[in-house]
């Protein structure tokens, strides 16, 4: 109970602290200040070091970053629609649909945007919401010390020699959902018929050494030597490898699955002009080049940005990224996803 109390206190404290920051930023409104969310971890570090300074320079305003998971953002905005705690939020494709349905976002004023014309069609939103700012590629992460022949396809996870060495994560994450949809398609199902994926994942269970609670935890399993092979994001793998962990990334021959991440404008935000300026900054070639460089290696979505370094191992250019990998239409299976998440927790057990 002591732990509970401490956590509650911490919660209270951080809420007050956040309220303090927000209170201040509301007061500082005249000086021009907005609050934007990031994803916890490397994403947050990258945005703080690249986007923050660039935005200050471009707009003369300032931005406060608040690291949050996808779905936590929707709840926090819904709890305070008229004075939302953030002005810009970050969503993967699935949660973006939920956020649009919840009616918490404003459309993107494309005609006023400076960078919009550099963004390829596949990264623009069909209904006029803000474009994609980066993508996460899903492929096969493996330990090159233990697995000397790089895997070439998703089927490799099922190889008997990987008994007890495969890591997976549930469908509550974009990673888990995208993987399952891809596996369903591979086994005669579709993006709405997930049944074959559940059959396949049950056949995978003898190989599964660990079920991680989140994509980040799944990547950490390589660090701990718990697993040797798993589906994971390119960015997670590149960052771990840069830190000296024995992990490499293989793109399956069917192409990596691309999860598109967009920054969106929150309805009733403090300063629509600054919000647009922020999005333009994030989409601008200079900032995207900064995010693309090591150690962040975030995939750009601006056509003018050339891929460099480690990113060249997974795609030749932004156009190549779109044409030679798999994009999923999340609108087709988003309504089914809740059921899938629950079913995965129930049925996939080791």
């Amino acid at each position: 109970m002591l732990q509970l109390t401490r956590r509650a206190l911490f919660g209270c404290g951080s809420t007050l602290f956040a309220a303090g920051i927000l209170g201040r930023s509301r007061l500082a409104h005249a000086a021009g200040s907005i609050v934007a969310t990031t994803y916890p971890g490397s994403f947050d570090e990258a945005f703080k070091s690249v986007v923050g300074p660039a935005f200050a320079k471009n707009s003369g305003g300032s931005v406060t970053f608040s690291p949050l998971l996808n779905v936590d953002q929707i709840g926090k905005i819904q709890a305070s629609r008229n004075a939302p705690p953030f002005d810009i939020v970050l969503f993967d494709e699935g949660p973006l649909i939920a956020a649009i349905e919840a009616g918490i976002l404003d459309k993107f004023p494309a005609d006023k945007s400076k960078s919009f014309s550099d963004i390829p069609e596949a990264f623009r939103h069909p209904a006029g919401y803000a474009p994609v700012i980066t993508v996460q590629l899903i492929g096969i992460a493996y330990n090159p010390k233990k697995i000397t022949t790089p895997p070439t396809s998703w089927e490799d996870l099922w190889k008997p020699e990987y008994k007890g060495r495969v890591g997976i994560t549930g469908m509550a994450s974009s990673l888990g959902t995208a993987f399952m949809v891809e596996i369903a398609k591979m086994n005669g199902g579709s993006d709405t018929n997930i049944e074959p994926a559940f059959d396949a994942i049950k056949r995978l269970l003898p190989n599964v050494g660990a079920i991680a609670a989140s994509p980040g935890a799944l990547a950490a399993l390589f660090q701990q030597g718990e697993i040797d092979i798993a589906f994971n994001y390119w960015n997670n793998v590149a960052l771990l490898a840069a830190k000296g962990v024995d992990v490499a990334f293989a793109k399956p021959k069917s192409g990596a699955v691309v999860v598109r991440t967009s920054a969106q404008i929150v309805q009733n935000n403090q300063d629509p002009k600054l919000a647009l300026e922020y999005l333009d900054t994030v989409m601008s070639p200079a900032v995207q080049m900064g995010l693309e460089a090591a150690p962040w290696v975030m995939m750009p979505t601006n056509k003018k940005v050339q891929l460099t370094g480690a990113n060249l191992a997974v795609a030749r250019s932004v156009d190549d990224l779109v044409s030679n990998n798999t994009l999923l239409d999340w609108t087709r299976f988003q309504p089914l996803r809740g059921g899938w998440i629950t079913r995965f927790s129930k049925e996939v057990k080791i």
Partner: protein, 290 residues
């Protein structure tokens, strides 16, 4: 006279309660209001908040999986609390027998974990229990095991890690009770020829029962709600109520169902705490009489 005294005491009480008012208001705002909102949310039939009805509770009861998650969580609490109880007595007895310097040292060692965050303590357990962790490396190095055992992401590992993390909550009340035992009683028992085991079972154990039960309840409540440790040490493999509620609220965005899950969980935990508390009070009355 008696009436007057009662009156004056009542008036003093009211005034004495005034400073507690801010806390009472805070409690009302931060606990009671959210609880009522939770009840309200749980009474919607769909995540779209269309109609009201008890559907979420029917849904909980009609699927064995839900009940299993709840029972697993409560079982975890019982196992952790009981293990800490077993661990706390030897520690307490050593403390009571020790000199002043050793006592200070033991107190410091018991309190030390409380000064670090749960996350840090949990990560320490990942280092200890991992496939390439301390335990596995030692056992493999000594040739006692031929392949690494799965300790992390297992039920046993979770129980052990939680027991260590929550041990201070048990050790402190137990030591407190042990210190209150009248030494004359122990001397008398020994003088009458009772062996050590008998002294422990018939004297020490009953006399320290209030502390043990208080500690047991604290550890139980802390263990069942320990979201961080459960998730990091148990992984996505072991689904317990806190993770299940989080998943339904955040992953599935089904707020009515997760509200119902939260309420059912709260009622179950409060129910067990009340039950054990009531039983123990009855027991303690016996102790007082003796």
């Amino acid at each position: 006279m008696a009436v007057q005294r009662a009156d004056s005491r009542a008036s003093v009480d009211t005034r004495e309660l005034l400073p507690a008012l801010p806390l009472a208001v805070l409690f009302l705002l931060s606990f009671l209001v959210p609880l009522l909102m939770l009840i309200f949310v749980s009474l919607f039939r769909t995540p779209q908040f269309d109609e009201m009805g008890a559907d979420q509770y029917v849904r909980f009861l009609s699927d064995g999986f839900n009940l299993q998650v709840l029972l697993d969580t409560l079982a975890l609490g019982v196992e952790v609390a009981t293990l800490t109880l077993v661990l706390a007595y030897p520690l307490g007895l050593v403390y009571v027998a020790a000199g002043p310097l050793a006592r200070t040292l033991i107190t410091f060692l018991i309190l030390l974990p409380l000064l670090t965050s749960t996350v840090v303590r949990t990560f320490a357990w990942i280092v200890i229990l991992g496939r390439e962790g301390i335990v596995n490396s030692a056992m493999l190095g000594l040739g006692l095991w031929h392949e690494p055992a799965r300790l992390l992401y297992s039920w046993g590992g979770l129980v052990i890690a939680l027991a260590q993390i929550q041990l201070p909550l048990m050790a402190l009340p137990v030591i407190n009770s042990l210190l209150r035992i009248n030494e004359d009683l122990l001397k008398a028992a020994k003088g009458l020829g009772a062996g050590r085991l008998r002294v422990f079972l018939t004297l020490i154990l009953p006399l320290t029962m209030p502390g043990a039960i208080a500690g047991w309840l604290l550890v139980f409540a802390a263990a069942v709600t320990a979201f961080i440790t459960q998730t990091l040490v148990g992984g996505g493999r072991i689904i317990l109520m806190p993770l299940y509620i989080y998943q339904q609220a955040m992953g599935v965005q089904d707020w009515p169902f997760s509200a119902a899950l939260s309420l059912i969980f709260t009622v179950a935990v409060v129910g067990i705490v009340t039950l054990v508390g009531t039983l123990s009070r009855r027991f303690m009355r016996g102790v007082d009489a003796a």
